[in-house]
């Protein structure tokens, strides 16, 4: 089967090259430039066009109207405030976590690392409901255990929930930087008589600073765009993403919603540009010089156990949140009647299985498409020199700055007219998710691509290989691992996405996350939790398979970038 495919590919390529040669108009354009043009067209259609569509939907008067609303102004202020505090705590927790995992020999590190993955895989909404059950006014932990009447609703609760939800991102980024710090510097300082904290303050922390800044920026983008947590936890304390949704569901006002979506893009885009100009757009800052093979100087004594206690506290919260969900999917009525029941799973596999199946398929296509596109973009955009390269490079990475809710609305507005009729099909969902995931794959591939010396490529070309052959025989094998990482990361993010798909689903093309939301809307919590657990199971299964076949299950997250 493989050989037939290869033969077929060769023939196709043969004819493709031939037809290009004989085409008089395209006569002067070689294959490389043709591919660059195709990539450029794809980017303009699926990135630039939807963004422009959103910006141009409201008129100037509409913008003035929506921005004169006191509620809009409150949402903007609240968004900036919660982003500031949640990002700070998430980065702080992430740093402590990364430091503990790198600089101590606390027991159960593998377990700690595994648990910290869970928030990265979680579908929105339902997890926030688990927080209420545990930490609400009558919460199992806040009330039953500690007898307090603390209420999770409002900005304080949102702060707590977002800190836990987003710290894993900063953990992974900072961990990547700590890993690269040459331990011999730290040893040298210690040998010169510096105490542990002095070494930390003067060497480790300054060297980790680029990673910390990077984590702050990326987590900031995630918090700004977060919709699932505030819609459940924040009550009538509006933030921008929930206010956009409110304009739609309470005012039936798409114009106002797009106006606010355009406003939301300003701070996320600002952070994104900061990341690009300040840190060169890399998720991971690699300090030159390979590791010396030295072990990190380990922290011991009281400090070690304080760090351990801190991390333990964090994962106990995570375990209780996800544990209560798992239990919830097997009980009669979540929070009231804890008797065993498979009822929710019957409902899931009875009437909701189609959506679950759709979700898997869409995520496979979106993840695969994003990985393939990133691979091509790495070689033909990042790896070549041509006029307009900077623009295309920028466009490939731009979707990282676009909040899901913005992208969803943009696709809905952009692709409902000929010649690009996509609404009502599953293709629009796949393309939307694909575009959203391209920056990840691209970042992973370009980071590895830098390590491929151009001599290998030039050598191959001198020996008579054409660009496509170089791409297939040299570039692809060398980039296989970031390619797969991009694919799997894209799959995981797609299958748990709600903010994009909510605007693009159509009758017959429903997804599991959208189904989950509608169940919650009509107070059918049980089946919604079962869907959440099923999505979780699929995500863990995929990571497990990756681990089994490639030996790099968890590494997907670091390789895939963020």
């Amino acid at each position: 089967m493989m050989s037939i495919n290869n033969d077929g590919m060769k023939k196709c390529r043969h004819y493709l090259i031939k037809s290009i040669k004989f085409n008089s108009i395209l006569g002067k354009i070689d294959l490389v430039h043709l591919i660059i043009i195709i990539l450029g067209i794809i980017l303009f259609i699926f990135v630039v066009f939807p963004v422009l569509k959103v910006f141009s939907y409201p008129s100037i008067e509409d913008y003035i109207y929506i921005l004169s609303k006191s509620r809009s102004l409150r949402a903007i202020k609240n968004s900036l405030f919660i982003t500031l505090i949640s990002t700070s705590t998430a980065t702080f927790i992430g740093f402590i976590y990364a430091y503990t995992m790198r600089y101590t020999n606390v027991p159960g590190k593998k377990f700690f690392k595994f648990i910290s993955l869970l928030p990265l895989l979680s579908p929105p909404f339902v997890v926030a409901l688990a927080w209420i059950l545990l930490f609400g006014r009558r919460g199992l932990i806040t009330y039953e255990l500690f007898k307090t009447h603390w209420s999770i609703f409002g900005w304080k609760g949102l702060w707590l929930v977002q800190s836990i939800a987003f710290f894993p991102y900063s953990y992974l980024i900072i961990d990547g930087v700590l890993k690269e710090i040459d331990p011999s510097l730290e040893y040298a300082a210690e040998n010169a008589g510096a105490n542990g904290f002095y070494v930390f303050r003067t060497i480790t922390l300054p060297l980790a600073l680029p990673g910390i800044l990077n984590a702050i920026i990326l987590v900031g983008i995630y918090v700004l765009a977060d919709f699932g947590n505030p819609i459940v936890i924040a009550g009538s304390w509006p933030v921008l993403p929930t206010e956009i949704f409110g304009r739609i569901s309470g005012y039936y006002d798409l114009v106002g919603a797009t106006g606010l979506a355009a406003v939301l893009l300003i701070p996320t885009f600002g952070l994104f540009m900061l990341n690009r100009t300040m840190l060169g757009g890399k998720s991971f800052v690699t300090i030159t010089g390979k590791g010396t093979g030295l072990e990190k100087p380990l922290i011991t004594g009281t400090v070690k156990w304080i760090l351990f206690g801190f991390c333990l506290f964090i994962i106990l919260i995570i375990i209780s949140v996800y544990g209560i969900l798992l239990i919830g999917s097997f009980t009669t009525t979540w929070g009231i009647d804890w008797s065993f029941s498979l009822n929710h799973w019957y409902i899931l596999f009875g009437t909701k299985s189609r959506s679950l199946y759709n979700s898997i398929i869409y995520a496979l296509f979106a993840g695969g498409g994003a990985a393939v596109f990133s691979l091509f973009a790495t070689y033909f955009i990042y790896g070549k020199v041509f006029i307009g390269k900077k623009i295309l490079d920028f466009l490939v990475i731009l979707p990282a700055a676009i909040p899901g809710i913005f992208l969803g609305v943009g696709f809905l507005l952009a692709f409902n007219n000929p010649p690009l009729l996509l609404t009502g099909t599953s293709l629009i969902i796949i393309f939307g998710l694909m575009v959203w995931n391209i920056p990840l794959g691209y970042q992973a591939c370009t980071a590895n691509f830098e390590q491929i010396t151009s001599e290998i490529e030039e050598g191959a070309i001198n020996l008579g290989a054409n660009s496509l052959q170089v791409f297939k025989d040299i570039i692809f094998p060398l980039l296989k691992s970031p390619f797969l990482a991009g694919f799997i990361m894209g799959f995981l993010r797609s299958i748990t996405n709600l903010s994009i798909v909510i605007f693009l689903i159509s009758p017959g093309n429903n997804t599991a996350t959208a189904e989950m939301l509608s169940l919650i809307q009509y107070a059918e919590l049980g089946p919604a939790i079962a869907i959440c657990i099923a999505l979780f199971g699929i995500a863990l299964l995929v990571i497990g398979i990756t681990q089994l076949f490639l030996g790099t299950g968890m590494a997907v997250f670091t390789k895939g970038g963020l």
Partner: protein, 351 residues
């Protein structure tokens, strides 16, 4: 090993393509703002009697309305079902709904249908209160359950009440209008006449909301969330739709439904979308929703709402619709003043 992974992947992609290509049989595409048990039952019955498949997207009424608006140039669905006729009326005004004349609509009373035949009311839903009886005993010993809307203003209810936000929920907006129309009944007794009646009623309603706001701890995004939170014991009493509350009552959970006098209500709408992909089937489906069979399903399955067709069974366990005191709901005024009242609410509450 790796080859196996590749084969699995290709298999997955192949199945995906098949699923995308499949399904060209006759069908009706629906945007629904409805609980899924009710919709599933109606769809099943429709397929049984006509052989036509039903496919749907389920969401809030506002989201569905916005979808219909955004897809104006090329509608993606045939029928819009559920959600108050306010939402349908808003779409009809801009020419987004088709004029049809389903024969079952003839039996409907005039207040349940658009004179131009663009939307039809197929159920009646009441606003009510959900009360957690266990929590009342535990947290508020000796306090009587609320019987009227005004009981909720008593100081002992401070922090025990949950409602939903009109900024995100259609039901919560109807609740605001309901209070205005309730005070309108009283205004004449204080000597107000003509236009002053509504003006004074509105003022009184905002004062009422200022007091109500003192006791409300949380305004949720969705109309049904207060039920979930009251059931879980987070709050003692919540404002929501009576039919959705009854679902929890019938499950045997420790909650009861209270329908205070002078309550507001929604008329649930169904309409065919202008320029729909399957216009004839759309009309057929709307006609089916207005049939006795479907009205009976509406009253007995899922969230049980009152039918609008005369002579159909009332939902079991619900208060008799004749015994419930409704406000005189001026729907046209409520729709017209929507944006203004929502802004005013924001000003009054600002929590």
């Amino acid at each position: 090993m790796k080859r196996l992974l590749l084969v699995l992947l290709l298999l997955g992609l192949f199945l995906g393509l098949v699923s995308i290509a499949a399904g060209s049989a006759e069908k009706v595409l629906i945007y629904a703002a409805l609980d899924s048990p009710t919709l599933e039952a109606i769809a099943k019955e429709f397929t049984k009697s006509t052989g036509i498949d039903v496919e749907w997207v389920l969401g809030g009424a506002g989201e569905m309305a916005v979808r219909i608006r955004a897809e104006k140039s090329r509608p993606q669905a045939d029928v819009f079902i559920g959600g108050s006729i306010d939402v349908h009326g808003d779409l009809a005004k801009d020419g987004l709904l088709a004029k049809i004349s389903p024969e079952n609509a003839e039996a409907l009373a005039p207040q349940y249908k658009d004179p131009e035949g663009r939307y039809f009311g197929w159920y009646l839903g009441l606003l009510g209160l959900v009360l957690n009886t266990d929590m009342l005993k535990e947290e508020m010993e000796g306090v009587m359950p609320p019987k009227t809307w005004d009981d909720l203003l008593e100081p002992e209810w401070e922090g025990k009440v949950v409602s939903s936000s009109p900024a995100t929920s259609g039901g919560a907006y109807i609740f605001i209008a309901t209070q205005i129309f309730r005070f309108e009944k009283l205004a004449p007794y204080f000597g107000f006449k003509g236009d002053a009646i509504r003006e004074e009623a509105e003022k009184a309603a905002w004062n009422w909301f200022r007091d109500f706001n003192k006791n409300v701890d949380l305004y949720t995004a969705k109309a049904t969330e207060p039920i979930t939170l009251t059931v879980q014991g987070e709050y003692v009493v919540g404002m929501s739709w009576a039919h959705d509350i009854l679902v929890s009552v019938e499950k045997g959970l420790p909650v009861v439904l209270i329908v205070p006098p002078y309550t507001g209500f929604e008329i649930g709408g169904v309409s065919a979308i202008e320029g729909a992909p399957h216009p004839e089937i759309a009309e057929k489906f709307v006609n089916f929703v207005l049939s006795e069979k479907s009205q009976e399903i509406n009253a007995t399955v899922g969230a049980k709402r009152y039918p609008t067709l005369p002579g159909v069974v009332s939902p079991p366990n619900s208060p008799d619709v004749k015994s419930v005191v409704l406000v005189e709901y001026d729907r046209a005024w409520a729709i017209e003043n929507r944006s203004r009242l929502l802004d005013k609410w924001e000003e009054v509450i600002a929590k």
